[in-house]
Amino acid sequence: MSDKNVLIQVTDLKKHYNKGEIKALDGVSLEIDQGEVVVIIGPSGSGKSTLLRSLNLLEEPTSGQILVDGVDITDPKVDINVHRQKMGMVFQHFNLFPNMTVLRNMTIAPMKLLHKSKGEIEAKAMELLRMVGLEDRADAYPSQLSGGQKQRIAIVRALCMEPEILLFDEPTSALDPEMVGEVLDVMKNLAKEGMTMAVVTHEMGFAREVASRVVFMDAGTIVEQNTPQEIFEHPQSERLQNFLAKVL
C-alpha cells in the first residue's frame, strides 16, 4: 500500500435536516483509494446510505468537502454531471428504465453522453451481458426479468459508462434470498478485476470475504474502520460489538 492512489477524499461531511435537528451525517471523513472495496455497515438510520449518496451528490451535503480526483464536487461551480459519468451507481430497487429493452437501458447513456457509436457501445454491452450471463436477455424488458437479473443488468448498465468507481446502495436488500448470491458473485468478480467499489450492505459474509476495508457507522459518524478481519474478530468499540452480536 505504499503507492496508493486516492480516488475520493471526504472531509468533515455533514448533512443536517430540519435546521440541524436531525443529523444524518455528523462530520464524516473517509478516503477511498483506487482499487479498494470499501464496505459500509451499520444499523439502519446510521447514515450509511446518506454518505454513499453524497459521494455523487444525489444527496446535497450541508457542509464539508468531497474531493474526487482532487476536485471538490461540492463546489457549486463544478459540473457534477461530468463527475457522475465517472461514478456508477447501483440502487436497492434497481431503477431500470421500464420502457426500454435491456440493451437500450445499457446503451442510452453512453450514446447520448459519451457520443459513442451504436455499434461500438452495443458490442461492449453484449460483452458485459455475457460476463453476467444474461446475453440472451438483451431484447427483454425489465418487467420480464427476475429481481436478481434486474440487479445484474443495473450493474452492467453502470459499467457501460466505464466508471472509475461503482457505488452500491444496498444492492441485495430488495432481492429474494435465493437471488442474492448471483448478484454478489458479479460484485465479487468486479472486485477481483480491480474495480473500485463503495458498498452499503447488510451482507456480512460479503464484507468479510471481499472488502479491503470495512467502515462501521452509527448515528451519522464513522465509529470504526479497519480490515474485515479486525472488524469482525476484534471489534474495538462497544457499539460495533453490540451491532455484530445482533447481525452475526
Binding site: L58, V82, F91, N95, F97
Partner: protein, 244 residues
C-alpha cells in the same frame, strides 16, 4: 306505425332539408371542430410549458438555489405566475372566460372564432398542465436518480428517461380532456359564434320545433365523442402492447 314514420319523415324534411337548413348545421359542426382543434393545440403547448415550469421548480428548488441563483429566481417568478394562471382559470367558468375574452380583452376584434380559440386554448392549457404535471410526479423518483447517476443533467433526464414514460401515463387522460373540450365549445354561441349547438338552436327558432333540432345536435356530438373514445381505446391498447 307507418303513420308515425310518415310524420317523422315529414318533420325531418321540414326541420333539416327545407331551406337547406342542414347546411347551417354542418357549418356549425365545422366551426366546432375548428375551435376544438386549435384550442387543443394551444392547450398542449401551454400546458406542457406550465407543467415544465411547475415540476422543474418542485424538483430543483434545493439544488438550483445553490448552483444557479439567478436561474432559480427567474424560475420562482415563473412558478408563481403559473400557479396564479392555474388558480384563475380553474376557478372561473369557461363561459365567463370566453365572454371576458370577447367583450373585454378583444373587444375591438371582429374575428369571434379566433377569440374563441384563444379562450378555449387558454382554458384547456390549465387542465392539460395539471394532467402532465400529475404524470411527471407519478414517475418513481428512482427513475430520476438513475438518470442523474448516469450523468444526465436535469433536462436530459426529462427528455430521454422521464417524458417517454409520462407520455404513456397521461395519453388517455389527455385525450379525455380533449373530448371534454369538444363539448365545452358548445357555449361559443354566447359570443355570437355559430357552432354546432348554436346552429341547432337557430333551427329550433326558425321551425318552432325543439325536438328534432336539439336531438340532432346531441346525436352529432355523441357520434363524435364515441369515435374519439374508440380511437383513444385503440391507442391505449397499442401502448400497452409495447410495454411487454
Amino acid at each position: 306505425m307507418s303513420n308515425g314514420w310518415n310524420t317523422f319523415v315529414t318533420d325531418f324534411r321540414f326541420v333539416f332539408i327545407q331551406d337547406d337548413r342542414w347546411k347551417s348545421l354542418f357549418q356549425g359542426l365545422g366551426n366546432t371542430l375548428v375551435i376544438t382543434f386549435f384550442a387543443v393545440m394551444i392547450g398542449i403547448v401551454l400546458g406542457a410549458i406550465v407543467a415544465t415550469v411547475r415540476t422543474t421548480y418542485d424538483k430543483n428548488n434545493g439544488d438550483m438555489k445553490k448552483r444557479n441563483p439567478v436561474g432559480f429566481y427567474i424560475l420562482s417568478i415563473a412558478n408563481v405566475i403559473c400557479k396564479l394562471y392555474l388558480t384563475v382559470i380553474r376557478g372561473t367558468p369557461v363561459v365567463v372566460q370566453l365572454m371576458i375574452a370577447y367583450f373585454i380583452i378583444f373587444a375591438t376584434s371582429n374575428n369571434s372564432t379566433a377569440v374563441a380559440v384563444f379562450a378555449f386554448g387558454i382554458n384547456s392549457g390549465a387542465y392539460v398542465a395539471e394532467i402532465i404535471r400529475g404524470g411527471i410526479m407519478s414517475i418513481d423518483e428512482g427513475q430520476f436518480e438513475a438518470g442523474r447517476s448516469l450523468g444526465f443533467n436535469y433536462g436530459q433526464t426529462m427528455i430521454y428517461i422521464i417524458i417517454p414514460q409520462v407520455f404513456k401515463v397521461v395519453l388517455p387522460t389527455l385525450c379525455n380532456e380533449f373530448i371534454v373540450l369538444l363539448k365545452e365549445t358548445s357555449v361559443a354561441g354566447y359570443v355570437g359564434i355559430m357552432d354546432l349547438t348554436k346552429a341547432g338552436d337557430i333551427i329550433r327558432g326558425r321551425t318552432f320545433s325543439a325536438f328534432l333540432p336539439l336531438l340532432g345536435v346531441a346525436a352529432i356530438y355523441l357520434v363524435m365523442v364515441v369515435i374519439l373514445t374508440a380511437l383513444v381505446g385503440c391507442l391505449e391498447r397499442s401502448l400497452r402492447k409495447n410495454e411487454r
